[in-house]
């Protein structure tokens, strides 16, 4: 039986480890040079900071996951620095150091992970503006800060984690600007208490930052990133509506995370609209099986954001489900235990969504002149103008104005574009649909095609 696992993060590592333990040797596709994913990403070999400096409180987990990843990579058919760029008719298409290859599969586990969820702002394409995740990569994997006076903007746990990591590493932080109002966190407390240790870490970061005088703002509304040829600061309203400017030479922004669902889409997985996170997500049966297509399993943040701990469990769960579907004996006690632990994390996740709500109105009010799609330089106004041409849904709007048609395939702008189109048409967000995935999911060297 041929099994392919895509993704080298927490979900992929635990899926491969479980398959190996049951006697299967999967082909394992990882875009990175080494396992760990984005969350436990490893610096290049010439770097020497200890795990505690790189991963903080998560150092133990990072080392365990990376050790499991190394062992699994040695035993599986591991393909680092390889892109899975299409899935069609039971075949995964790969491009890597050895060229291109098409692999037929009986079972496919997609553990494709997540990236920052972005809301475009006037000035967001200026040099010096990065994602929160990108700012974290700069520090973790390269030992660099994104600037000398960094403005951290957005919402979600990563905002405070990054501020803490930057401050600890000696980076200058001009301000931390959270769009979520502080009282949302108090209201979310009952659900956040489902994971008391994680909650305690989050509280520790804010207390630590406050104690060191890092300016923390909550309930803000960003108006514009300032600068002509590079980022020079930010203009925003505080919760009372008063306008402020803060200078800085770099901005990191992100409003939670969004799953990388392009391969699930191409593989034929069914998607449904998730009201809580305001986006379309691939549907699973709760045990890792994708709906709408046979032999495909989804695990980790790529199937819906739940964090690294949940991803480890979901990776093992998807592998156990695949094995059971193939008629192999697996532990039902272990499957029940995983389901129970995922349910607890799920309650905490609901708390996080409530504590750091996605500020959809920011996207809906993006000024006409602002760049919405940075790949094709499409403005918010150009998208709104497609409504007059009777663009009912987002793929039609894309055909009219090229939004989401560029190299990133709408990874950055599609969510905001859907909000803008829905607002311009005066309909529910779910009615404008979602951008369909197109192969290749990322640009390929032409020679490989």
């Amino acid at each position: 039986m041929s099994v392919v696992v895509v993704g080298g993060g927490p979900a992929g590592v635990r899926a491969v480890q479980c398959l190996l333990a049951h006697g299967l040797r999967p082909v394992w596709i990882d875009e990175a040079p080494r396992t760990g994913g984005q969350i436990y990403r490893r610096p290049p070999p010439s770097f020497h900071r200890p795990p505690k400096a790189l991963y903080g409180f998560e150092a133990g987990k990072a080392m365990a996951l990376q050790a499991a990843g190394d062992a699994a990579a040695a035993a599986a058919d591991y393909r680092p620095q390889t892109l899975a760029w299409d899935v069609s008719d039971g075949v995964v298409h790969l491009a890597g150091p050895g060229g291109s290859e098409a692999l037929a599969y009986d079972g496919l586990i997609l553990a494709t992970g997540a990236m920052d969820r972005i809301i475009p702002l006037p000035g967001w394409t200026l040099p010096g503006v990065f994602t929160l995740g990108g700012a974290q990569v700069a520090l973790k994997a390269q030992g660099c800060a994104i600037g000398r006076h960094c403005i951290l903007l957005g919402t979600g746990p990563l905002l405070y984690l990054l501020a803490y990591q930057y401050a600890k590493a000696g980076a200058g932080i001009a301000a931390v600007l959270d769009t979520a109002p502080g009282e949302a966190r108090f209201r979310a407390l009952p659900k956040l208490l489902a994971q008391p240790a994680t909650l305690a870490k989050g509280l520790h970061y804010t207390v630590w930052l406050r104690a060191r005088g890092v300016p923390l703002w909550e309930g803000i509304r960003p108006l514009e990133i300032l600068g002509q040829t590079r980022a020079e600061g930010i203009r925003f309203r505080d919760r009372t509506g008063a306008e402020h400017r803060i200078s800085g030479d770099a901005v990191a922004m992100g409003f939670g995370l969004k799953p990388e669902t392009q391969l699930a889409d191409l593989a034929g997985c069914a998607f449904g609209f998730d009201e809580a996170s305001r986006q379309f997500l691939p549907l699973t049966d709760g045990e890792g099986r994708a709906r709408g297509t046979a032999g495909v399993y989804l695990a980790g943040d790529g199937a819906g954001i739940a964090g690294a701990d949940a991803a480890e469990l979901a990776g093992e769960q998807a592998a156990l489900t695949l094995l059971a579907d193939q008629g192999m004996a697996v532990s039902s006690a272990r499957r029940r235990e995983i389901a129970a632990r995922l349910a607890r994390i799920g309650r905490f996740r609901q708390g996080l969504e409530a504590a750091f709500p996605f500020p959809a109105e920011l996207a809906r009010r993006l000024p006409d002149a602002a760049l919405l799609c940075r790949c094709e330089a499409v403005t918010a106004g150009a998208l709104r103008a497609t409504v007059e041409k009777r663009a009912q849904e987002i793929n039609r709007a894309k055909a009219f104005c090229r939004v989401g048609m560029g190299r990133c395939q709408g990874r950055l702008c599609a969510g905001a574009a859907a909000e803008i189109l829905a607002a311009a048409r005066g309909v529910e967000l779910s009615e404008v649909g979602r951008l369909r995935g197109q192969p290749p999911v990322k640009p390929l060297p032409v020679a490989l095609l």
Binding site: E31, Q38, P43, P44, P45, S46, F47, H48, R49, A53, M115, D116, T125, L126, P127, G128, V129, F130, T131, G133, G134, A135, V137, A138, L139, Q142, G143, C144, A145, I146, G147, R148, A169, G170, A171, Q228, T229, R230, D249, A250, E260, L371, R374, C375, E376, A377, G406, R407, C408, R411, L412, K442, P443, P445
Partner: protein, 93 residues
Amino acid sequence: MSGQLLRLAETGRRPIRITAGDRTIEALEGDTLLTALLLAQGHLRLSEFGDGPRAGFCLMGACQDCWVALADGRRLRACTTLAEDGMALEPIP
């Protein structure tokens, strides 16, 4: 023009050099092309739509905003490519 990034740690690595046109850029082994370039200057490329300079965004291979050209014409994603000693890039406009 000063660099966008600021190096905070891991300074004990072997020095390497890359070029962008006739400009020489000092870097360290293990720097990505993006890191090497943005420590030395403020941007990586100009937008093909005339809306100004760009310097990447996601740093994890997703946004595709950091592609640069080698002198031999090959194009590379700067955030996921390690700089190598002697690498020759097209001049950055």
